[in-house]
């Protein structure tokens, strides 16, 4: 596994997002998060999983200051964001809403993407350059002058992601970014994210797609009824079916299959088809005394 998130001296991991004992209750009655503490290293790709209503979106909104914890502290790059306005936090933390229509408002795709850039004070030549390279990265050049509303769901989603990429915040929080996208669009988006991660950016990715988690994430956080049930490397967490079942999450098919074959020697932690195939073949060769 690649090591990421280390400072130039290569010794100390820098923490990008830190929650300390955070709780959040909606309307004073629905307890969405209960005393959650976690630290996300800079340059990591963390998947946030859990049932609908487990507190995933609430946690995400605490990280960018859209919600303020009633209890606890949120630190972004080591700084407590308690007294910082949302606009200032947004320079460091980019947030992709679950529903693209909750953030699209400009009359054309070009203006939608330019809006954030202008807001953040990029000078005009750089703005244009960032705008067009974001349009290109997501194959949106042909749609630059289209109203976002006439585009299909997949393209509207790409417009919102391109807006985020245009100004390139060091921390990206994405709520179900690939939901409703076909596989090809989804893979393209994930590849762009991987490039950002390779450039040292931090990714917090909310999803139900466990196949995606197994293939892309470095670590997983499991939320259940507002509590952080577990946090750790993907392979370790997915190898624990009991834990996942408690959070109503199921591992990808090949992981599940490798767990069914545990009594016959599989370790039960295959993350991909290739992973499963290699471990199984080695096991078979051993049994056959090759």
């Amino acid at each position: 596994m690649r090591q990421r998130g280390y400072c130039e001296d290569g010794l100390v991991a820098r923490v990008a997002i830190e929650l300390e004992n955070c709780s959040y209750t909606y309307d004073g009655r629905v307890r969405a998060l209960r005393e959650v503490s976690c630290a996300i290293e800079a340059g990591s790709w963390v998947a946030l999983v859990g049932q609908n209503g487990s507190g995933k979106s609430t946690l995400a909104k605490l990280c960018n200051g859209l919600l303020r914890p009633q209890q606890g502290r949120v630190r972004i790059n080591g700084v407590d964001i308690r007294h910082r306005p949302v606009g200032s936090v947004a320079r460091e933390v980019g947030y992709l809403f679950q529903n693209p229509d909750h953030q699209i408002f400009a009359p054309t795709v070009r203006e939608e993407i330019a809006f954030g850039l202008r807001n953040l004070g990029f000078p005009s030549p750089e703005r244009e350059q960032r705008l067009w390279s974001a349009l290109e990265a997501f194959d949106l050049t042909a749609y630059a002058d289209h109203p976002p509303a006439v585009l299909g769901f997949g393209l509207r989603r790409q417009v919102t992601v391109a807006s985020l990429f245009a100004w390139g915040p060091p921390i990206l929080i994405l709520d179900e970014a690939t939901q409703g996208l076909d596989w090809e669009r989804s893979e393209r988006l994930l590849d762009r994210l991987r490039e950002r991660q390779d450039a040292g950016h931090t990714i917090l990715f909310i999803t139900h797609d466990m196949r995606l988690v197994a293939e892309r994430a470095s670590r997983v956080m499991v939320l259940h009824q507002g509590k952080l049930l577990a946090e750790g490397p993907v392979r370790e967490i997915l190898a624990r079916p009991d834990l996942l079942a408690r959070a109503s999450v199921s591992p990808p098919p090949v992981t599940h299959l490798s767990q069914l074959l545990r009594p016959w020697g599989m370790k039960g932690e295959s993350l991909t088809v290739e992973d499963f195939y290699c471990e199984y073949s080695a096991l078979l060769a051993e049994r056959e005394g090759v």
Partner: protein, 262 residues
């Protein structure tokens, strides 16, 4: 959106409809319940017959008793304050006698496993519960054909499993014909008898699950995946340990266990 599509679905069959974004899947669904051509603007050529009714010659209102449509976003369909009123809404507009309404209401709620939520507000339910209430509202009309347009997209695995269970129960009890649009390809073998792939407004592939998912390379070019268990079978094939075409988990586990001597 659709170009010269010909398709027939047998009574009682479940057809899964796959296809990338913009392939025309939702358009096809709207053709099945008559919203196309009656309410959606566009040019419509050809004919659609559902359980003997021509969609051109029937109104969407008449067709609503034959074809039930459940969307991805159940919430957008809700109009009532309680689950009970939501499910009874369509029945009341048919002016059925009260005891018949009650009978169908109870039956639909039980079939979908939401009887316990009867007096709750549909808006305060979980995603999986909302989708099952939307399904119950459609079932209460006793449609012979059920059209599901990505009903599981917003659901967690528990919500998905509960919805699929309700649909299986329904097929068994009433023999309902199901057309199921989905991106959740790993779940397709649990419910579908056949698969059709829509691409650029045309039917690119149609057939039994093994035949269609055998076309892994073609499906990938169209931006689609095959079930992961089938991908694994293909990986063993490529290594010369061929002859596998598993689709289901149990089938794969059985064969792989056998080879390990278990």
């Amino acid at each position: 959106m659709l170009k010269g599509v010909s398709l027939s679905v047998a009574e009682g069959e479940c057809l899964a409809l796959l296809g990338p974004t913009g392939a025309g899947k939702s358009t096809l669904c709207l053709c099945l319940n008559g919203l196309i051509p009656h309410l959606v603007e566009g040019t419509f050529r050809g004919g659609v017959h559902v359980a003997g009714h021509s969609t051109l010659e029937s109104t969407p209102g008449e067709l609503s008793q034959t074809v039930g449509l459940v969307f991805q976003d159940a919430e957008s369909q809700f109009v009532s304050m309680t689950v009970e009123d939501e499910v009874a809404f369509g029945l009341e507009s048919l002016a059925l006698p009260p005891d018949e309404i009650e009978r169908r209401l109870t039956e639909a709620l039980e079939m979908t496993g939401v009887a316990g939520l009867r007096s709750r507000s549909p808006l305060e339910l979980s995603g999986g519960q909302k989708q099952r209430v939307a399904l119950a509202a459609v079932l209460a009309m006793r449609p012979r054909v059920l059209v599901l347009d990505e009903p599981t997209t917003n659901l967690d695995p528990v919500g998905k499993a509960a919805l699929l269970k309700a649909i299986r129960r329904l097929r068994k009890a009433w023999g309902t014909t199901v057309v199921w649009v989905t991106q959740d390809v790993d779940w397709v073998p649990q419910l579908a008898d056949r698969v059709a792939v829509l691409w650029n407004g045309r039917i690119a592939l149609i057939g039994g699950l093994p035949e269609v998912f055998d076309q892994g390379a073609l499906l990938r070019r169209m931006g689609l995946r095959v079930p992961q268990v089938r991908e694994l079978a293909a990986r063993f094939d490529r290594a010369g340990q061929g002859g596998h075409a598993w689709l289901g988990m149990d089938e794969a586990a059985g064969v792989l266990r056998g080879r390990l001597g278990g």
